[in-house]
Amino acid sequence: MKIIAAMSGGVDSAVAAARAVEAGHEVIGVHLALSSNPQKYRSGARGCCTIEDSHDARRAADVIGIPFYIWDMADEFHEGVVENFMSEYAAGRTPNPCLRCNEKIKFAAVLDRAKAMGFDGVVTGHYARTRESDMGRTLHRAIDPLKDQSYVLAVLNREQINGAIFPLGDTEKVDIRIEAEARGLAVAQKPDSHDICFVPSGDNAGWLRDRMGSEVGPIVDQAGNKLGEHKGAYTYTIGQRKGLGLTVPTADGSPRFVLKIEPVSNTVVVGAREDLAVTSMRGERPIFCGPEVGAAPLRGFVQVRAHGAALDCTYYVDNGQLVAELDAPLLGLATGQAMVIYDGDRVVGSATICETA
């Protein structure tokens, strides 16, 4: 096949591209320029947006021996990912921009452009596996549970999965680094990237405050009694305990947690730990990676964070929304997070959490 290798400048995508070449594909390396004003150097562990990263990607492509180009996706990234990140926070939800990037950029804008140009698909360094079965091509967890990235890929529909190649899912990260070393790739020991690439400081709250201002508002208990003030509701997350700066103690001295963020009234609601408990969730705009789920309840697992636990649940579709009912309560779940359903290690699909109970 003729495929585009999305190369971030990191070790994973470099090895993925090299493996695709060895598998006999005709591979062209592409680095996505996602920032219109990139930093010169990478600082810390936040990656794929600097000039240094694009040089690392180019060098890896040269060593592997494939053509290399840079595609400017800065406008698409800003519209589809960064603006969505801000508007979700402004609406009191907690988004995951890595999912949006996979959904809107890597497997949409890039895949569409690649196909129009005569390529068959996109290879990336994500840790996930695909399998062919009577269900067609399905998406599965990687064998390395610490690196498994199937959660952030659960926004891909069947067509996108058919156009995707994930060569790293059957290998542990430690072995990928050894392989990179053996292949002469200088990025073999480059640190992993964590957190959000477009927030170079890692300080999401500060980043949001710089762009959206910090309007002071009340922190209240569930009865509506004012307990303190906050500096911008979107800088809080559900389940947060520290940094609330409350001066009125609870009667029994037990800690308080953020239960709810109400963007319209700019209010943060706090309460006791047990009030965080959630036993069911609903998600809007479901996407199915394999066969669609219907109204009939099914048993499986739901995961609500990139490296969170897989929770036993019953799931079904109701009124166009994906519903998961948990066997055991979960503490602290924010709307805006993605709920990803698994059948064993197979990714069933995902939806954006819009309601919890």
Partner: protein, 380 residues
């Protein structure tokens, strides 16, 4: 087969230049040394200087070797600016970054005022504008810099008219693309300074020269021995200088042949894509450059597709991160940023053949079709 149509970026070294350079590489001697070896290398360098002077139509003593055309442009722009206390720099809006960037740097760091001469839609500078600027600001202008021909479109600029309008204001001319390709006389043009580069003329990379009028003194960029008229220091790069001179002396660039290939390519492109636009076609152009807009495409997609068909061409501009950017040259000619990002530069040289043209034309229709499709999904 593979077809190289990016000779304006760099062009193969002539065999005579490689041979001359090889002999020089095997030779011992610092041209500044006083002993036998030094004198022998010095002779090679001065022979080379005379050959280059002959081709550029200047005095040998007016040739100052530099490490690149970019360095020569920097030396000229900064040197001519620092030479007086005048603060106005006049350049054309279509200069290469090697002229624009030092000019902008002087604005940011040295209090210079920059005036850019606009160009017509045909890509030629607006002489009336220049006339007015010179009439209004004559005593404030430190220098005027206009390129002999543009590197993206190949459009040749009216340098003789610029010099005549300038009067006694120093004029620098970046002749990197024109040198050896079209008739060019430093003396007859009446220039103060002119830039040439080795790797555009069949010589090696890493060598250029500033031709600077005799008795014009400018402050140096590099200090450390004053080897080149006290304007440029550093041990002379004898092998590259010898290689450059051999390329220039060989006179191997056949302008008629190259122009014929370029023209037949353009005829073929227009037959295949009647909606294509050849930028700067109405003006007098260098023989080897063709800049073509393919409406509804993005040039970085086209470049990738041409490259995968083994045809090498250029999109013009890219930023430091390697991201394709709209060309300031095409935008100065009145193209929108979208249209200017739909343009490719094909440039032909001494090694180009009719087979190259035929092959490039054979892959072009499919490339454009796919490029149109890729651009339309991008706008979805």
């Amino acid at each position: 087969m593979s077809v190289y149509l990016d000779h304006a970026a760099t062009t193969p070294m002539f065999d005579v230049a490689i041979d001359a350079m090889n002999s020089s590489l095997r030779k011992l001697g610092n041209p500044s040394s006083l002993h036998t070896e030094g004198r022998s290398t010095r002779k090679d360098v001065e022979d080379a200087r005379e050959k280059i002077a002959k081709a550029a139509h200047c005095l040998a003593s007016e040739v100052i070797f530099t490490g690149s055309g970019t360095e020569a442009n920097n030396a000229a722009i900064k040197g001519l600016f620092w030479r007086t206390d005048k603060k106005v720099i006049v350049v054309s809006s279509i200069e290469h970054h090697a002229v624009l960037d030092p000019a902008h740097w002087l604005v940011e760091h040295e209090g210079a005022e920059l005036i850019e001469i606009p160009v017509t839609t045909g890509g030629v500078i607006d002489l009336e504008f220049l006339q007015k600027v010179v009439a209004d600001r004559r005593n404030e202008i430190a220098l005027i810099s206009v390129m002999h021909s543009n590197n993206e479109t190949g459009v040749i600029q009216p340098i003789a008219d610029v010099v005549s309008i300038a009067g006694d204001i120093p004029v620098h001319c970046d002749a990197v693309q024109s040198f050896t390709k079209v008739p060019l006389s430093f003396k007859e043009l009446g220039l103060f300074a002119m830039t040439i580069s080795g790797h555009k003329v069949g010589g090696p990379l890493g060598i250029g020269a500033l031709i600077l009028r005799r008795a014009v003194e400018i402050p140096a960029l590099l200090h450390g021995g004053g080897q080149e008229r006290d304007i440029r220091s550093g041990t002379l790069n004898a092998p590259s200088i010898v290689g450059l001179a051999a390329a220039v002396e060989s006179n191997l660039f056949d302008a008629k042949k190259v122009a014929a290939l370029r023209n037949s390519f353009e005829v073929g492109v227009m037959a295949a894509r009647p909606d294509a636009v050849i930028n700067g076609q109405s003006a007098e152009r260098l023989p080897g450059i063709s800049n073509i807009t393919f409406p509804g495409t993005q040039s970085d997609s086209l470049l990738l597709l041409m490259d995968s068909q083994k045809v090498s061409c250029s999109t013009g501009a890219a930023c430091t991160a390697g991201v394709h950017r709209p060309s300031h040259v095409l935008m100065a000619m009145g193209l929108t940023d979208v249209v200017s990002q739909s343009s490719l530069r094909f440039s032909f040289g001494s090694t180009s053949t009719e087979t190259d043209v035929a092959y490039a034309l054979s892959v072009l229709p499919d490339v454009i079709t796919r490029g149109l499709a890729a651009h339309s999904v991008g706008r979805k």
